[in-house]
């Protein structure tokens, strides 16, 4: 960065010296008729010129690396940071807004680092150097030129003040438009299924039109100020011409000096004109940086506590315990879990049942600390999960989510998400347990790209992959959120049979909706009103608890179907 600025300054010294030599050419050899002097001096000008060109190239060569490095590094930092941010943050922040920060805003910062900042320094330096020379050539006119700084200062201040608000508004709205674009891309199937293209298009057009209005407002501000920034150096030039002519007429200056004066002063036109651009550029970079730091300054709510300890996988027994757990989502006072107690013994498979929306998924996400409890605690082998390092906790607790998220990557990469080093045999075993051998029949086997892109898999296939992904980790505690909901009865039975061997040595917490899935479990707990109201075997609960019957009774199921 400093090298860049130094090069820039040296290059501008070169370009400042050249007019002086030109003056020397005109006043010396040309006026005196000295041919060899003419050749010599023009050779010097040529050499200086090529030197300047070399420096320009060198500076921009370095600058490319520096500015683009700043952009790439910040993007890396944003990505690293948002990956660490807790689920609650991601619930609030839509991807489009995050993305616009990691692309558009960083571009603005890069442009300032590459151009705005350099020009600011070069221009200030040029301004001072030129003024110094002007004063030296003929001080009264030099001071006139210097005085142009006063209106420039006020103009810049007013411009910057209004522009910064407009710039922030524009960037925020760009993020909104990105949100809309992202959302409609994700929901394209629903949009198509209901033929709502026009509806979403109207919504998008609305966001886009708002962006247009904000940008037009910005354009108006720019046109007013930039035209003014252009006029000032020209006004000064006119004043210099008149004053200079008078001075030459009165023998205060030579013609050569006047030419040099004007030439030098013309060097100020671009730096002053550019000031408008630099201010705009700088302000945009500033608001962009604000937006980036809005995200970077958000502290991850779920981090390792000081003194958090590692729980090596080999030591973990998988004793999971919920003690007086309360939970409410950020910004709500509605408690989802309200004094929940539950003990899952090592090696046991416990199913959690309850009506839709009773908090099963929430409860399950507390064990790997995707969310933290509002009150109470969750213990793994007697340690509060918050006293364990996230790394070791999540190594011991693996989750198969209800929505099987697959990424646009190879099957292998998707499967080994939680365990890079899994061997071919591990993969094969996990696929067998999850009855997901179909992946071997894909066009390129485990190397086939799946996810959103490429082959579309059925819901059942995706769910089986998500299950295999959890199994492959060989965790102490396996969390399965309604893992078999999309499977047909036949496959479900096969998976259950294969899963039984895995579950024999693993603690498992399984959210269930169907009696058939309950078959996996040693015991079942009923979640109601944020608490565990009953624990027992399936048949015990069917007998003793009417609420349980309502939720999971096969009989009422077939009654419903037969009605």
């Amino acid at each position: 960065m400093i090298a860049m600025l130094a090069l820039a300054v040296v290059a501008s010294v070169f370009s400042l010296v050249i007019p002086r030599v030109i003056q020397a050419v005109i006043d010396g050899p040309v006026v005196e008729g000295d041919t060899s002097g003419l050749w010599l001096l023009t050779a010097i000008i040529g050499a200086l010129g090529l030197g300047e060109a070399f420096l320009v190239w060198l500076r921009r060569y370095i600058q490319a690396k520096v500015a683009l490095g700043v952009e790439a590094d910040l993007r890396r930092d944003i990505y690293r940071h948002v990956q660490r941010l807790h689920a609650g943050f991601h619930d609030r922040f839509q991807t489009g807004q995050l993305l616009s920060r990691a692309t558009g805003d960083l571009g603005r910062i890069r442009r300032f680092a590459a151009w705005g900042m350099i020009f600011l320094v070069i221009n200030i330096f040029t301004y001072l150097a030129v003024i110094a020379q002007l004063v030296q050539i003929y001080w009264p006119l030099g001071l006139v030129v210097a005085a142009s700084a006063v209106p420039l200062f006020f103009l810049s201040r007013n411009f910057a003040r209004g522009y910064i608000t407009a710039s922030r508004a524009e960037q925020d709205q760009q993020g909104e438009v990105a949100n809309l674009a992202e959302e409609t891309a994700q929901g394209i199937r629903v949009i198509k299924a209901f033929g709502r293209a026009r509806h979403v298009t109207e919504k998008f057009d609305g966001g886009s039109a708002k962006l247009y209005d904000i940008s037009i407002n910005k354009v108006r501000m720019l046109s007013r100020s930039w035209a003014m920034f252009d006029a000032i150096p020209n006004l000064v030039l006119a004043a210099v011409l008149i004053g200079g002519a008078l001075a030459v007429a009165n023998d205060k200056m030579t013609i050569g000096e006047l030419v040099a004066f004007v030439t030098l002063q013309l060097m100020l036109v671009w730096p002053i004109e550019a000031l408008g651009w630099i201010i705009a550029n700088g302000n945009e970079a500033m608001t962009a940086a604000d937006r980036v730091y809005d995200v970077l300054d958000t502290e991850p709510a779920i981090v390792d506590r000081p003194g958090a300890r590692d729980l090596p996988r080999a030591e973990a027994k998988g004793h999971l315990r919920f003690e007086g757990v309360r939970f409410a989502y950020d910004g709500t006072d509605k408690t989802v879990l309200d004094g929940l107690d539950l003990d899952v013994r090592p090696g046991e498979t416990l199913a959690v049942a309850g009506v839709t929306g009773c908090g099963k998924t929430t409860m399950l996400s507390l064990a790997p600390r995707l969310y933290d409890v509002t009150a109470g605690r969750v213990l793994l082998d007697g340690h509060d999960v918050r006293d364990l390092t996230l790394e070791s906790l999540r190594l011991n607790v693996a989750t198969a989510f209800e929505d099987p998220t697959l990424f646009s990557m190879s099957v292998r990469e998707n499967l080994t998400l939680g365990r890079q080093e899994a061997t071919e045999a591990d993969i094969e075993e996990a696929l067998r347990v999850a009855q997901a051998d179909f992946v071997y029949d894909l066009p390129w086997g485990l190397d086939t790209r799946i996810g959103e892109q490429g082959l579309s898999l059925s819901g059942g296939q995706r769910q089986r992959l998500a299950l295999a992904r959890a199994v492959i980790v060989k965790p102490a505690v396996l969390i399965l959120d309604d893992p078999l909901s999309a499977l047909d009865v036949h496959t479900e039975e096969l998976v259950e049979r294969a899963l039984a061997s895995v579950l024999a040595g693993t603690t498992a917490l399984v959210a269930v909706h169907r009696p058939s899935t309950v078959a996996l479990a040693d015991r079942v707990a009923l979640l109601e009103d944020g608490r565990i109201v009953a624990v027992g075997t399936h048949s015990e609960l069917l007998e003793s608890t009417p609420a349980y019957r309502a939720v999971l009774s096969a009989e009422s199921d077939s009654v419903g179907a037969a009605a």
């Binding site: 005109i26 050779a43 000008i45 010129g49 060109a53 070399f54 190239w57 921009r60 060569y61 952009e71 790439a72 990505y79 689920a87 619930d91 609030r92 839509q94 991807t95 993305l99 692309t103 571009g107 674009a181 994700q186 394209i188 949009i191 299924a193 998008f204 886009s208 046109s223 930039w226 035209a227 006119a238 011409l241 008149i242 007429a249 013309l266 950020d330 910004g331 509605k334 839709t356 929430t362 989510f401 990424f407 646009s408 990557m409 190879s410 998400l417 939680g418 071919e424 094969e428 066009p443 790209r449 892109q453 490429g454 296939q461 499977l487 009865v489 036949h490 309502a550 009774s553 009989e555």
Partner: protein, 628 residues
């Protein structure tokens, strides 16, 4: 085993997977990363460039009149701006002697006043020019955004499945940003610079043709240099568009699946991959910027060398009385004005090239033909009854892997048909054909005797709605999400739909009821709840044909019971296709079709099939057993 498969199948792909990109896997379609217009051969690139230019031209067309005025303004502004050095020359050559000779100030005063007027004109025209061109630029962006968005809406599901949402977002944001950057600042300067270079050439020729010819010696060199830059940087900037798209795709997917990322401690591996993509993008950008560094240095060097030459030759001419000192001085001043804009041009040239590449990408998108096109002459579909027919329908994604071989089926209006069969039997394909996500590869799918290919989109969507296992909710309230099925629905209609489907209870239990934002403030819904919202949405849409594709998989038993009860009423007067692996849902059907490899192997009312001892009977028995 997997390795065998890999070796066997890897050969047809001639583009080797870069080792660091191994994680991406091999896409089924080679076109996965681009639109069909974007190919690597020279002819396609040329065609794409032409498309990019055509796109720009068509975007500018509506602004023809404004553009005319912009050019007029530019000419005036350029003229006024050029007056400066000319006035300096005139002031020095003709203004000073009369003052020295006889204290005659008239010429100098005239010069001063003219200068003042020129500045005022320049200010006014510049201001108007900036405002007008800014407006054109923003309208162009508005238009472009709208066009690209509409095109993505028009393109079929098949396109979206291979293109991925992340890449759609990249086109809609980063590419348009690249163009915005140009509209923001670059374009004005580009045009102005080009203009002033032309004018100055004229003035130089007029002042001293011989000297001007020396200055013009720089032209061929300059032309060669810019041509080199244009050709080579185009390649680089095209690749930066692609590498940034990959960065964006990865970013969007990581954020979308952040729960899985965190739960599986995927952060580090993700970071490695992301850094790699990010670095790839940076490296390409650096190459581009270095080219432009060479270009800028070259322009500067040529400019300075030319100035030295002109000075030498001009000085020589003055010495031999062939020209005036004033002319030489003015020449030097003009040369500065001549090369400075070129310097600016070199600064914005990479912005221009980057925007060019973005134009090409967007032109590629706009050029993509929808696989499922709108009919040119749609046949009206008024008051559809809902009779569906498959006439000799065949369907395949790839010719060597036929999903549906000659398939015939008639579903009378009002019948509820359940499709049963293993994964890959073709159930979802049938649903996608009826909802026209795809068109059949051969044969016809008709609704009330009208081929779906001939039905206008709005008519089709009014008649056919689909609920899938993927229950996407849009940002907004629950009420709005239900109303997605019928945007003009009243609050009462929304509530009735929710009630009918059994979703009203849980919705009213949310912090703000129907006004609860589904993303913010505690509106997190479980998969089952989202499915209920999706049901309510479909119910509100009130279609004649309803397709339920695994639409009840996440519901618990009480909800499913409610939904089933509701379905009995809802489906009474509708044609319905139900795909479910839960036979409890299947039992509401009038007719069950058991599919195997795209063929119907059993067809009949559920009760008959259960007694018939076939596959369905087996499945039913298995299901009965599972209800422990």
């Amino acid at each position: 085993m997997s390795i065998d498969v890999q070796e066997k199948k890897a050969s047809p792909v001639d583009k080797p997977v870069k080792d660091s990109h191994r994680w991406r896997g091999i896409a089924e379609s080679e076109e996965a990363d681009r639109t069909s217009a974007e190919q690597d051969d020279a002819a396609s690139i040329k065609a794409l460039r032409a498309r990019g230019r055509n796109l720009l031209a068509s975007l500018l067309r509506p602004h023809k009149r404004t553009l005319f005025w912009i050019i007029v303004l530019l000419l005036i502004q350029n003229g006024a701006g050029m007056a400066g050095p000319l006035l300096v020359k005139f002031g020095i050559d003709s203004g000073i002697p009369p003052i020295i000779d006889n204290k005659n100030y008239t010429i100098l005063i005239t010069v001063g006043v003219t200068f003042g007027v020129a500045i005022l004109i320049e200010y006014l025209t510049k201001r108007a020019f900036l405002a007008m061109s800014g407006r054109v630029g923003q309208s162009l962006l508005l238009d472009l955004r709208a066009r690209v968005f509409r095109q993505f809406q028009r393109l079929s599901i098949a396109f979206h499945e291979r293109f991925t949402s992340g890449r759609v977002v990249a086109r809609m944001t980063s590419d348009i940003d690249a163009i915005r950057e140009l509209a923001d600042g670059g374009l004005n300067d580009l045009v102005l610079s080009a203009l002033s270079i032309l004018t100055i050439t004229g003035i130089l020729l007029w002042m001293d043709p011989m000297l001007a010819l020396v200055a013009l010696l720089s032209f061929p060199v300059m032309a060669w240099l810019s041509n080199w830059f244009r050709v080579n940087s185009a390649i680089v900037y095209r690749s930066t568009r692609e590498t940034i798209a990959l960065v964006i795709v990865y970013f969007v997917e990581s954020m979308g699946g952040v729960r899985a990322v965190q739960a599986y401690r995927r952060e580090r591996r993700n970071q490695t991959i992301f850094d790699d993509l990010n670095e790839d993008n940076r490296a390409r950008n650096v190459t581009g910027h270095r080219m432009s560094a060479f270009f800028a240095g070259g322009v500067k060097g040529i400019g300075n060398a030319t100035t030295a030459l002109v000075l030498a030759y001009g000085g020589y001419r003055v010495l031999h009385g062939q020209t005036d000192v004033g002319v030489l001085a003015a020449f030097v001043l003009y040369l500065r004005r001549f090369f400075d804009p070129m310097q600016e041009l070199s600064m914005f040239y990479n912005t221009l090239q980057s925007a060019n590449a973005a134009f090409e990408k967007l032109a590629g998108v706009l050029d993509e033909k929808p696989d499922v096109p709108e009919p040119v002459e749609p046949k009206p579909l008024t008051n559809p009854r809902g009779e569906l027919r498959f006439d000799d329908v065949e369907f395949w994604y790839h010719k060597d892997k036929v999903v549906l071989p000659t398939f015939n089926l008639t579903i009378p209006a009002g019948q509820t048909v359940a499709l049963v069969g293993a994964t890959g039997a073709g159930k979802t394909t049938i649903a996608k054909l009826v909802s026209r996500f795809y068109d059949p590869s051969a044969g016809l799918v008709t609704l009330d005797g009208v081929s779906l290919r001939d039905v206008a989109e709005p008519d089709l969507r009014r008649a056919v709605a689909m609920v899938t296992q993927e229950n996407f909710l849009f940002a907004g309230t629950i009420g709005e999400n239900i109303a997605f099925g019928k945007p003009d629905a009243t609050v009462r209609e929304i509530e009735e739909a929710a009630r009918a489907i059994g979703a009203h209870e849980f919705i009213t239990g949310l912090p703000e009821g129907y006004d609860t934002d589904v993303r913010k403030r505690g509106g997190r819904l479980s998969a089952g709840q989202r499915q209920l919202v999706a049901f309510a949405r479909a119910f509100l849409a009130d279609p004649k044909v309803l397709i339920l594709d695994e639409a009840t998989s996440s519901l618990d038993i009480p909800s499913e019971r409610l939904v089933q009860r509701a379905l009995r009423t809802i489906l009474a007067d509708r044609t319905a296709i139900v795909i479910a692996h839960r036979l409890s849902t299947v039992e509401i059907a009038d007719r069950v079709l058991v599919l195997e490899k795209g063929t119907i192997v059993e067809d009949g009312p559920p009760s008959t099939l259960i007694d018939g001892g076939g596959r369905y009977a087996d499945l039913h028995a298995q299901w009965q057993d599972s209800l422990v």
